[in-house]
Amino acid sequence: MQTVPIPQTGSLPLPGPVWLFTVLLVVSLTLHLAAMNSALGGGIWALWNYFRGRHAEHPNSRRLASELALMLPNFLAFTVTLGVAALLFVQVLFGNFFYTSSILIGVLWLAVIPLLIAAYYGFYYFSYTSEKGRGMSGFVLAISFCVLLGVAFVYVNNMALMQSPERWQAMYRAHPNGWNLNVGDRSVIPRYLHIVNGAIALFSAILAHFGMRKLKADLEYGRWIVQRSAMVFAACTGLQFLFGMWMLMAIPRHIAIVLLQDPLAVTVFGMALMSAVAAMLLILLGSFAEKNNAMVHAGFGMSLVTLFLMVCLRYLLRMIYLKPYANLGALAVSPQNGVIALFMVLFLGGLATVGYMLRLVARSGKTRISADGPN
């Protein structure tokens, strides 16, 4: 028996090249995280502004909470939809690691499903009732937000555990019924804080971008959004550096050394740091402008670039963790070229169809597509 048991992936070849699955995984995960950050970050923004807006002297908070309330269910819808794609591709490349870690924390992993349903309906409840000021709205949103924080914690547990096979056997023998948590891994807490704080940061950048677009219709309201979101973004980005440092110190020393000696990882890391700083400066400076300012939009763009680079870095870190156990280059590959081509065509067709529907909506000129719950 192996000292570190690694499930075999079977004799079937990969139905496409590793690089293609890697690209699809990284891109779909980036999009999933952008939507997830909107749901989680948007949730805390909505919650804060809802309670603040209950006082008459904060009409902007009240208005923002109402607008966010109508967007939150959509954010969650696309978090799930885009997450399915990432889930699909991670199973292709790292299925044997992913399934094993999921089984080890099986109870909590499966609990994600009812928790998500509860949070999702909570968001819908808030979107229907927040404007009417019903008493339970804020409470329900707070519960939903806490539930999403819990879901994020389970995800961080699983993603950290899947790249630590040396912990599996002991955990399985301790609790074969899936009542495990990966809290023995020192990197889990900083990783979790990094994810949650990053979600607030990214959504603040999105909100700054949103506020800029509001300037034209309502200068005062738009400026209020931009300035507050810029401040929060800057603060959270600063905190990200601290949490990032903590995480770097918490991962095993030999892993950190390999990461910091890998030219590609260092390059990506450096670019991510620079883009984060650039995003922070651009949004902060742009937030003082009186009218629509390209700097905020650029800062928003840079924050998305930072997210993408962090996802790439995360992938590289996982590869370092799994280096003793997995060699993607050695996997047998038998590309299903015809099906891949069909997927690409349909993917473009799907994007075009969604674009067409959005164009119909935009053309109508009256709809509030992102801001109107199901009636």
Partner: protein, 534 residues
């Protein structure tokens, strides 16, 4: 054994079924309900029927809340559950069909986008554009079903993929089309049922009630035809399960037919004939019928695939045939990645084997409980019968372990019940014999049933003549376990067999080992519950 086994208090298969039935119920409504909304809106717009448009608007809100949230998340839930319970099968399907799932995801993405836009733009979009969005939803959701249907049917009928390993051979397999028609019919059926959830209270009520009833009737009429077609295309081994008297199969068939008929009757009575009767109780009952139809269908779909999870590729215990060969020669302790104890002499090892090898489908005392299935077994008999386990009634895979493993598991199984101690009298001899028959013979035989009946061998024999045959059973067939029951139990068993085989038979006996004739299926029920195969 490649992966750790998630040790649940219920069999993993039951967990999958629970999540899957709920998801399939809502996801088929997502397909049919979208079609229902698009067609209804078209009619309402054409007829300028404001009440009907208002109904569509309200129904779309319910539709979105149910399908976007519950339908979508439980779909992810299936991914999670199958990965936890059958990681090997999930990995295998992913390796074969990842691009099919990627394509399905594209349709899913369009579907979700269209649903959100559709439900939010009743006031803002021009009527034509709104209907276009509705029809985009219809196409995307049905295409999503189209692709998933290919993967699901592949699991039972991989067809020529087995030899070619060609993606298209796998997707367009022998049951693809009948299953697609069946699922489309179910979607239409459910669309009608769910149509009543948003039934208007006053204006337009009768019209909607009759309209929804038509959908239920249409779905219910197509269903038997498509299922008959599907049944004609499933493998021979699957068809045999309908004749082997499995209680679960029988209940699922009766339930499926019963729920469909009840829904049909309610639709005709309270929908078409007297729409004012369509109040909450019949609507609630219709929803129960819809869920019942899905539950029955899913149960049968899963059952007829036994002993496989992917026919000819992977057994229900998540093992490939080649892996079973290795396990039989090397044993579990030398090959499994995740064992709770490496000490093969300990009783914990047998318990570990139970969960590892049986736990995906069986529990100790709950669903598909082993406790009553092995009542009356001793360690030696259990260890012996385990090597013939795949010969029982076809639902079990070959035993994945060596002789030592069989003995350890056998000891564990035997320990689930206290050993039998009988004081046999003339009064209870027949009853005791029947129990012994259930424990020793009933897993593979009936006396007068149509599955491996013993009547031919024991007809007109006295108990002592029957008893005299027992010591030689092991030599009659390599698939027979050694008969080692205590003498008093053997006497009672002989008495029971002699008694039962001597009964006059009102029907013609089918040939042994070929229980294919459907004309005898009403006699196929087992004499006692324990004769159902584990």
């Amino acid at each position: 054994m490649n992966y750790p086994h998630w040790q649940l208090v219920i069999p993993g298969g039951l967990l999958i079924a629970f999540v899957a039935v709920l998801h399939v119920f809502v996801s088929h409504f997502a397909v049919g309900g979208g079609f229902f909304l698009a067609v209804t809106e078209s009619i309402a717009r054409r007829q300028k029927d404001a009440a009907l448009i208002d109904y569509c608007r309200r129904h779309s809100k319910f539709f979105a809340l149910l399908t976007l949230v519950f339908g979508t998340i439980t779909g992810v839930g299936i991914w999670f559950t199958i990965g936890l319970v059958s990681p090997e099968a999930t990995s295998t399907l992913i390796h074969i069909f990842v691009w099919a799932w990627a394509i399905e995801w594209v349709f899913f993405f369009v579907e979700i986008s269209a649903a959100i836009i559709y439900v939010k733009t009743w006031e803002s979009l021009p009527a034509h554009d709104h209907q276009v969005v509705g029809w985009i939803y219809v196409v995307a959701s049905w295409m999503s079903l189209f692709v998933i249907n290919g993967i699901l049917t592949f699991m039972l009928t991989p067809g020529s993929w087995i030899t070619t390993h060609n993606f298209w051979d796998g997707i367009f397999n022998p049951t693809f089309l009948p299953s697609l028609v069946t699922r489309t019919a179910v979607s239409v059926f459910l669309a009608g049922i769910f149509g009543y959830v948003s039934l208007p209270k006053s204006e337009g009520r009768d019209k909607v009630a009759r309209w929804s009833a038509l959908w239920i009737v249409a779905g219910a009429l197509v269903l038997p035809l498509s299922l008959w077609w599907y049944f004609a295309c499933i493998p021979q081994f699957s068809r045999l399960y309908f004749d082997r008297g499995f209680i679960g199969v029988r209940h699922a068939i009766r339930g499926g037919i019963g729920f469909t008929l009840m829904a049909l009757v309610i639709a005709l009575l309270c929908g078409l004939w007297k729409p004012r009767w369509m109040r909450r109780p019949p609507v609630g009952f219709l929803l129960v019928c819809g869920l019942g139809v899905i539950g029955a269908g899913e149960y049968l779909r899963e059952f007829v695939r036994k002993p496989w999870v992917i026919n000819q590729v992977l057994y229900a215990n998540d093992l490939r045939p080649a892996r079973i060969d290795a396990l039989q020669s090397q044993g579990v302790s030398d090959t499994a990645n995740f064992l709770l104890t490496p000490d093969t002499a300990s009783s914990n090892y047998g318990e570990n084997l139970f969960y590892l090898q049986c736990g995906k489908c069986h529990s100790v005392a709950g669903y598909r409980a082993m406790r009553w299935r092995v009542d009356g077994w001793d360690t030696e008999f259990a260890a012996d019968i385990l090597q013939h386990i795949h010969m029982l009634r076809g639902t079990m895979p070959p035993y994945p372990g060596n002789k030592g493993d069989r003995r350890s598991l056998g000891r564990c199984l035997a320990s689930l019940n206290p050993s039998w101690q009988f004081t046999i009298t003339d009064a209870n001899r027949l009853a005791v014999g029947e129990r012994v028959f259930g424990a020793r013979c009933g897993h593979c035989h009936t006396v007068n049933g149509n599955f491996r009946p013993l009547r031919g061998a024991f007809e007109n024999r006295t108990p002592s003549q029957v008893r005299a045959i027992f010591p030689a059973l092991g030599e009659m067939s390599s698939n027979m376990p050694v008969f080692n029951a205590p003498d008093d139990q053997a006497q009672a068993l002989a008495f029971y067999i002699s008694h039962e085989a001597g009964k006059p038979m009102p029907f013609k006996q089918p040939p042994p080992e070929a229980p294919t004739s459907r004309s005898h299926s009403r006699f196929a029920r087992p004499a006692r519950p324990w004769q159902e195969v584990p």
